[in-house]
């Protein structure tokens, strides 16, 4: 079943085009990774889906409803967003941070039910002991998990993640990916993740969406997308792809030309 339909999406700042004519369907409870070189428009794509940015052209439908016609609060009840990092000026406790995820469901104030839900999420992720700690004092891995916990507290059908593993060690990378996979399998969540590590994308996602210069180059399962040709075309890198237990793994060998040009 289709959860999100993106139809002919274009977005740009002033003179530069960031996204051009993107059309794709995202199926319900699937794990989709978005890969591509820096500046391909991956993060912008996520922000358009989440209505943080308004596209110049094209429509995004979630559960067959156009997000242009939805209030921001309504979008937030359907789509959660896990940012790359969260920089705050003032100290915030972990509990307050996760409680923010309840905001789209609240009237003016949080009540006991909302707090109970936050506790539930924290306990489920094993973060409850950090509840009163200051968010800034935690390690990158813990911070990332708390941002995911906030998205979980938001109780949405769709979670967008912007490079959640970018500055984590391999243990925490696996931990975050397993968490997301668990949500997709057990909670019917649809996850869209921007990720640079092709092997992580390959190991965990159902589908990979490969982008370059604001366009989709290839969409499909990891085996069909992560080919030597695609990688050379998109990244300008000669790579060796070998398959282990049916999952393709990419070993970059050398650059072709100076940069990945258009």
């Amino acid at each position: 079943m289709v959860k999100i339909t993106i139809n002919d999406l274009s977005f740009g700042y002033a003179s530069t085009k960031i996204l051009e004519n993107i059309s794709v369907d995202i199926h319900k409870s699937s794990f989709v990774s978005i890969v591509g070189p820096n500046g391909a428009g991956k993060s912008t794509f996520l922000k358009c889906i989440n209505k943080i940015l308004t596209p110049d052209r094209g429509d995004i439908h979630i559960d067959r409803r156009n997000i242009r016609q939805m209030k921001r609060m309504e979008v937030a009840r359907n789509i959660a967003y896990v940012p790359q990092s969260s920089n705050r000026v003032f100290p915030t406790t972990v509990f307050e941070m996760v409680l923010m995820g309840r905001r789209p469901h609240l009237g003016w104030f949080s009540n006991e039910t909302d707090k109970e839900k936050v506790w539930h999420v924290l306990e489920e992720m094993g973060l409850d002991e950090l509840a009163l700690r200051n968010f800034d004092e935690l390690s990158g891995g813990q911070q990332q998990k708390i941002l995911i916990a906030r998205a979980l507290a938001q109780e949405t059908g769709v979670i967008l993640l912007d490079e959640p593993t970018s500055n984590l060690d391999i243990w925490h990378q696996l931990d975050v990916m397993e968490n997301v996979k668990w949500l997709v399998n057990n909670r019917n969540v649809t996850a869209l993740m921007v990720v640079h590590d092709l092997n992580m994308a390959s190991k965990y996602s159902d589908r990979i969406l490969m982008m370059k210069n604001g366009r989709i180059v290839s969409v499909g399962d990891p085996v069909s997308v992560l080919t030597c040709e695609n990688i050379e075309k998109v990244y300008g890198v000669e790579a060796h792809v070998h398959t282990h237990e049916g999952i393709p793994y990419v070993m970059p060998l050398k650059q072709r030309g100076m940069t990945a040009d258009a």
């Binding site: 922000k47 989440n50 209505k51 943080i52 209030k71 921001r72 609060m73 309504e74 979008v75 937030a76 009840r77 789509i79 959660a80 967003y81 940012p83 969260s86 920089n87 705050r88 000026v89 003032f90 100290p91 915030t92 406790t93 509990f95 307050e96 941070m97 923010m100 995820g101 905001r103 789209p104 609240l106 003016w108 104030f109 949080s110 506790w119 924290l122 306990e123 489920e124 992720m125 094993g126 409850d128 002991e129 509840a131 009163l132 200051n134 004092e137 813990q142 998990k145 938001q154 696996l174 931990d175 975050v176 397993e178 968490n179 668990w182 949500l183």
Partner: protein
């Protein structure tokens, strides 16, 4: 550090480990309950201190009136049949001391809560209620009134009216800037500073051409003084208070989210720009009203939120009222010290708040533990 991944295997563990986990869980929850309890206690103590100090300060002053007489005078206003008082002490207590305390509490509370709101919507710890140029606008308004004698309303409210008009003008300019261009908080702060400089220079121009008497009026107004407040202004200030503070407080949850940045706020359903404009508008209205009666009392709006944050963390449901209470507390204490330290001279409130507040704030900064709020 246990993820869902680990949790799945934990589910199949024996009962004993399950119950130990549950125990940890209840620990975290009871810690949280205690944390909330401490915050409530702090607020209650603050409120009690403000009331207690107010009740104490009303008995202190250059004119010796006994404590019992003071309260007789106060009660006689509500129950005129039971108490009969001498005229002069009654005038002093009811028309000089009490309005001053009420003004101190209201101004301090307003400055504290608006400082807190401004810091959060502008995401800047250096922001204060005067960041939008309100104080310099107000002093320009006063300068115009003092030197040229012109204003929107004449008579006794000439100064006050002008101060209010020009401070709102400054604030509205910046708010309009944010609505038209969707400006970021950095732009707003820069614009505020620019406006501050503009109106300061304009005021200086008036200072330069003013006579001694006019200059004295302007300078003493700029220091911030509670003595200008009287019962006739009380209802107006109260109305603005009753209108602005509850509306600001209703935004407490949104203010919590504003701090994490505009894009993140949007992803949680908050239209950051709209919340920022709404809060700045209400805060400006409240502050302009306070400033036009009391002059610029600069230090409290910047520092009271920081003090409150050090003690009870940054959840605005507690932070906003705590900032207000702390502001009120610092202001009335500073004012009573200023009134009595070099009798019979009264040191202006604005000077005294900085003289007393700065060392206290320094102490708080230096002793603050990095790891915790307490």
């Amino acid at each position: 550090m246990l993820g869902l991944f680990k949790k799945q295997s934990r589910k199949s563990d024996t009962d004993s480990s399950g119950s130990s986990h549950r125990k940890q869980t209840s620990d975290a929850r009871s810690d949280y309950q205690r944390y909330v309890g401490r915050k409530m206690l702090f607020m209650f103590v603050m409120l009690a201190l403000v009331i207690f100090l107010g009740a104490f300060i009303v008995t202190v002053g250059p004119l010796e009136v006994s404590v019992i007489d003071v309260y007789k005078i106060l009660f006689s206003r509500f129950f005129p049949d039971y108490f009969i008082n001498a005229d002069l002490p009654s005038q002093v207590v009811w028309n000089i001391r009490l309005p001053r305390i009420v003004a101190g509490i209201m101004a301090g509370f307003g400055l504290g809560i608006c400082g807190c709101v401004m810091q959060s919507v502008l995401k800047n710890p250096l922001a204060s209620p005067f960041t939008l140029g309100i104080s310099s606008g107000a002093s320009f308004g006063v300068a115009v009134a003092a030197v040229m004698g012109v204003g929107i309303i004449s008579g006794p409210y000439l100064l006050v009216g002008n101060a209010f008009l020009f401070s709102m003008l400054c604030a509205m300019f910046i708010i309009a800037l944010s609505s038209l261009k969707g400006a970021t908080s950095e732009t707003l702060i820069l614009a505020g500073i620019a406006i501050n400089y503009l109106f300061s220079s304009l005021s200086d121009l008036f200072h330069y051409f003013a006579t001694d008497e006019q200059l004295r009026l302007m300078v003493s107004w700029g220091m911030g003084d509670l003595s200008a407040f009287s019962w006739s202004n009380f209802m107006l200030l109260l109305c603005i208070f009753v209108f602005c503070t509850p509306l600001l407080y209703l935004k407490a949850n949104d203010l919590n989210i504003m701090v994490i940045g505009d894009e993140n706020a949007k992803s949680l359903g908050i239209d950051a720009n709209r919340v920022r404009m709404f809060c700045m508008l209400l805060a400006s209205l409240l502050i302009a009203t306070i400033v036009c009666f009391t002059g610029t009392i600069a230090f409290i709006g910047l520092v009271a939120p920081h003090m409150a944050r050090m003690v009870i963390g940054s959840d605005h449901k507690y932070l906003a009222p705590a900032s207000g209470l702390l502001g009120a507390l610092v202001l009335i204490v500073a004012d009573v010290v200023g009134m009595n330290i070099v009798r019979p001279t009264i040191v202006p409130t604005g000077i005294m708040t900085s003289l007393l507040g700065v060392p206290f704030f320094m102490y708080l900064i230096l002793k603050r533990k990095r790891k915790e709020f307490w």
